[in-house]
């Protein structure tokens, strides 16, 4: 009986720890400012802000890969869907005022990607911090 109780308690405890672990990802410098100002990022027409954010969260690979083919193969440039714009808002700054790569551990991209166990390949080629001249 006591063994059963121990198993039960440990399951309870681990679920509590898992809950505590579920923190909001580090949004990044500009994105946090944006959110604090009460602005609605990623808002789509005819959709609530919450729904737009869910769409962005679920669909960002599809949105990006669709745009990347159009840009590279057809020369379509501009628009809101650009990987460098993701990086621009979602990077954080360290104590020395330097940008931390967006794919570094505990940064915006890697928090979720690590959690769901999906690879993050964009940044083996793409720049991980905002452009130098900024």
């Amino acid at each position: 009986m006591s063994r059963l109780l121990i198993v039960f308690l440990s399951v309870m405890l681990s679920s509590v720890v898992a809950q505590a672990d579920h923190h909001i990802p580090n949004l990044g410098e500009k994105a946090t400012e944006f959110k604090d100002e009460g602005k609605e990022a990623h808002k789509r027409d005819g959709m609530s802000h919450a729904a737009s954010l869910i769409l962005q969260r679920k669909m960002h690979p599809e949105l990006l890969s669709h745009k990347r083919d159009k840009t590279l193969r057809q020369g379509v440039r501009g628009g809101v869907i650009q990987l460098n714009k993701c990086v621009e808002c979602h990077t954080s700054v360290d104590k020395n005022g330097e940008f931390i790569p967006v794919n570094a551990p505990d940064q915006f991209c890697s928090t979720c990607h690590k959690k769901v166990g999906t690879s993050l390949d964009c940044f083996s080629c793409h720049r991980t911090t905002p452009a130098e001249e900024m």
Partner: protein, 244 residues
């Protein structure tokens, strides 16, 4: 006069009709801006090309071109790559006529062929030609097999052998993929000239739309003698040379 057989007849007529299309699109170009918005796809009404005059191009000009390219795209400071592994998007090449001993220096980069062998051999369709004639590598699809490097008669492509960081925002580069001159496609799409062309002050390097009869490159090509390197391969390169 040579008597045409059926096959030759078809060949000639196709070539002639293609010429008409080119002229026709050239005429439309003078009336309409081909690409008014950056959100419009590029079309085959334009073909970007370059004319390099080796008589006017000095050796320091070529060095400037190489440096401008390196600065624009961020290649050339790979620390672990040695010898042939090093990136070389644009190179200084010395050609010597054995009979006359005349030496000319030229800048050699991707020639942006109309019939690119690199595109023919690519197993994943990563090596591709845009509608406006710029030949690129889609690094999203590139598996790093390097067939295109073998196929290229100009040795224009290089392979990234090491992990890179701090790439330029407009020019992603990464280990395990092939890369080459992009004719500064990011600048061309904004209506600017490629970095190497902008670095030369004289008119030794002319860049523009080969199809547009009002463009400087089109008019110069009509006047001066020019050649394609390895013209015997019938690749119809976008980069032409005069003075060699």
């Amino acid at each position: 006069m040579k008597e045409l057989n059926r096959r030759d007849f078809i060949k000639t007529t196709t070539a002639t009709s293609a010429g008409v299309v080119t002229i026709a699109s050239g005429i439309t170009l003078t009336t309409y801006a081909a690409r008014p918005k950056e959100s419009d796809p590029v079309t085959n009404e334009k073909r970007w090309g370059m004319l390099i005059d080796t008589n006017k191009l000095t050796e320091s000009n070529i060095d400037d071109m190489v440096n401008a390219c390196q600065e624009e795209h961020g290649w050339g400071n790979e620390t672990h790559s040695t010898g042939d592994q090093k990136a070389g998007w644009i190179k200084k090449v010395k050609v010597k006529d054995k009979a006359t001993e005349r030496i000319s220096n030229l800048a050699l980069m991707c020639q942006h062929c109309e019939e690119p062998p690199c595109v023919d051999v690519c197993p994943t369709n990563a090596s591709m030609k845009r509608e406006d004639g710029i030949v690129l590598v889609d690094r999203h699809l590139c598996i790093g097999c390097r067939y295109c490097m073998m196929a290229c008669p100009y040795d224009a492509r290089s392979f990234v052998h090491e992990t890179l960081t701090d790439q330029k925002t407009h020019m992603p580069r990464g280990k395990g993929t092939v890369e080459a001159c992009t004719m500064c496609v990011h600048k061309v799409d904004k209506g600017e000239a490629p970095a190497c062309v902008a670095s030369v002050n004289s008119d030794a390097v002319v860049f523009g739309d080969l199809y547009d009869p009002t463009s400087k490159i089109n008019q110069t090509l009509k006047k001066v003698q020019s050649t394609q390197i390895r013209a015997d391969l019938n690749l119809n390169t976008g980069v032409r040379y005069s003075g060699i």
